[in-house]
């Protein structure tokens, strides 16, 4: 039985003297995994490695238990939508998908059926008979997505798949990713749009300068960042009183009244102690708490803490 993960075992890739990625150890489970990092951090290299377009200088990669040296087996189960905005010349959208499905060894009827399904899934049916060269950027992006997923792969690797899409298409595409993730497929996405990554990801892999800086569910990654105090927003009826009580504790680094005057934004080095303290304050002073929620366990905050605003390692 094949293993259900994509496994990188101490993988390094160098382009001559230049580092692509170094000492990557990963086990990517099913669901939506986002690769996050600044330009040149190694996102595309990692994607090219897991699809066998390039080979590791050191280490080994297995996709669902299959070694990448056997593309004839791997690519029945893997689809890759690359960042390259290029297409074989002279093909219509339909021919583009259909031709490569035939290369899978499918019979014409099956390839035709899957082509129509793929076109429909990205709302490109009406434009199917037009040349790809005449498509807009967003349409080209959608037809690439359709081609990558037409054969029903269980692993989808998508390099900046939302680039060039209008808001409506972005929303539809994200819904499609979420559907695939919910079906138990591996959906590996790289994106610069952090709030979208935050919305769709089951787990993230943060990369910087070719190294994996952090990986896992975003809340778990955030809790591992010990050197940055956690930000917690407490919605309550007496924010002034609460702020004063919180300041008495050493682990509280900062407590400021929220802009709307209906809560306190607390920065603490010990979230567990803060929660216990809140319980005690409620018991002692009758404070009414409406909500307590972490304010910086999103991808954007973790990215800022670990990689920094300029994309350099923090």
């Amino acid at each position: 039985m094949s293993e259900p993960s994509i496994v990188f075992d101490n993988v390094s890739r160098f382009y001559g003297e230049v580092l692509g990625v170094n000492r990557v150890n990963l086990s990517i489970p099913p669901g939506i995994t986002s690769l996050v990092g600044p330009n040149g951090s190694g996102k595309t290299t990692l994607m090219n490695l897991m699809t066998g377009l390039i080979r590791p200088t050191r280490g080994a990669i297995r996709v669902l238990g299959l070694p990448l040296e056997r593309p004839e087996e791997v690519f029945r189960r893997v689809g890759y939508c690359t960042q390259f905005d290029t297409f074989p010349k002279g093909l219509t959208g339909y021919e583009f998908i259909y031709s490569f499905l035939l290369m899978h060894g499918m019979v014409a009827a099956e390839a035709h059926k899957l082509t129509l399904q793929a076109l429909d899934s990205v709302s490109m049916t009406e434009a199917a008979d037009r040349l790809v060269a005449a498509y807009s950027k967003g349409m080209r992006q959608r037809i690439k997505l359709a081609q990558a997923m037409a054969h029903g792969p269980s692993v989808l690797v998508l390099d900046e798949p939302l680039n060039g899409l209008d808001p409506m298409a972005r929303a539809e595409t994200i819904t499609l990713f979420q559907k695939w993730g919910a079906e138990g497929r591996h959906v590996i996405v790289s994106s610069h749009v952090l709030h979208e990554v935050d919305r769709i990801s089951d787990q993230v892999i943060l990369l910087s300068h070719g190294y994996v800086v952090a990986e896992g569910e975003i809340q778990g990654v955030r809790s591992e960042v010990k050197d940055q105090p956690m930000q917690i927003l407490v919605r309550c009826d007496k924010p002034g009183m609460l702020a004063a009580r919180l300041f008495e504790r050493d682990h509280v680094v900062e407590a400021k009244i929220h802009a709307d005057g209906k809560g306190v934004l607390v920065r603490t080095r010990d979230a567990d102690s803060l929660y216990l303290l809140l319980n005690r304050i409620v018991m002692e002073s009758g404070l009414e708490i409406e909500a307590v929620a972490p304010a910086d366990d999103d991808v954007n905050s973790v990215y800022q803490y670990l990689i920094g605003p300029e994309g350099g390692a923090a």
């Binding site: 390259f84 002279g90 490569f100 290369m103």
Partner: protein, 280 residues
């Protein structure tokens, strides 16, 4: 998804995959704006021989002289220039153009053995090259003597003409087979395939002056062995030319095919380890 696809014996699967790749590649090889100069190489001798037939009507020469002229066109134009450079253009670009146009990854991301991909692309190139140059050689053969009318008809249908035409077609096809394999390999191995193409051209053109043993490590040596009309080298170069016994056809044909298959096999192995790295 059709499960029968996964359990199909490889030959059946490969046959379908080869057909699918041919379908896409032939369109690119036969109908490409980039190949305009190959069309010129193809059409050139056809137009010239057709003009000859128009102009030479009733001229003072013989059918045998036309045959000799055609042998010269075939050996010096088709084999050394037209087919050679046509094959450089067609076969070098089977992989290299995909790299330049950043489309090779589409082929590498389908479940096709790289060896099957390389052989399929080679077959597509071969079909295009044979159609272009085999067709051009045959048409030129017909056009150059067409003006002889019934005499040529007699020569063609009841004399040695048809057999000669067959040998020219076979030789042109074998030239495409041989040079095609060589230039498919250089297209995979080298970022700029023109440099190895120039080296191969020099080697092939030095062939008449090479020692007998070295002559055999070339495509042109076997192709010349298949040409029934011997064209001697005249002038000062005749002094340094090395005359060698031509290889008999029963050895030249399978020999050339074998060498071509070995080169093709090596090209397929190289394709297996090829990476997609457009920026390098």
């Amino acid at each position: 998804m059709n499960l029968s696809r996964n359990t199909a014996i490889p030959w059946m699967l490969w046959r379908r995959q080869v057909a699918a790749i041919l379908r896409l590649e032939l369109k690119k090889s036969l109908l490409s704006k980039r190949a305009w100069w190959i069309y010129l190489l193809t059409l050139g001798p056809v137009v010239l021989t057709a003009l000859h037939s128009l102009v030479a009507r009733g001229g003072e020469h013989t059918l045998a002289e036309d045959n000799l002229v055609y042998a010269g066109i075939f050996q010096f134009y088709f084999l050394r220039l037209g087919i050679f450079f046509g094959c450089v253009g067609i076969f070098s670009n089977l992989f290299r153009a995909e790299v330049l146009e950043r489309t090779l990854h589409y082929y590498f991301l389908v479940p096709v053995r790289r060896e099957v991909l390389a052989v399929s692309k080679y077959l597509a190139g071969l079909i295009a090259a044979v159609a272009f140059f085999g067709g051009s050689a045959l048409l030129s053969f017909l056009f150059i003597s067409m003006h002889w009318g019934p005499v040529f008809e007699e020569y063609l249908l009841r004399g040695p003409g048809l057999a000669q035409m067959g040998w020219y077609a076979l030789t042109a096809t074998l030239a495409c087979v041989g040079y095609g394999a060589v230039f498919l390999l250089t297209g995979i191995l080298f970022r700029n395939p023109m440099i190895p193409a120039a080296v191969v051209m020099v080697w092939e053109n030095l062939n008449p002056f090479l020692p007998s043993l070295l002559k055999k490590f070339s495509v042109i040596f076997y192709l010349k062995s298949l040409c029934h009309v011997d064209l001697p080298i005249d002038g000062p170069l005749a002094v340094i030319a090395v005359v060698t016994e031509p290889t008999p056809a029963w050895l030249a044909v399978p020999g050339l095919l074998l060498v071509s298959m070995l080169v093709l096999g090596y090209a397929a192995m190289q394709a297996r380890t090829m990476e997609v790295s457009y920026s390098e």
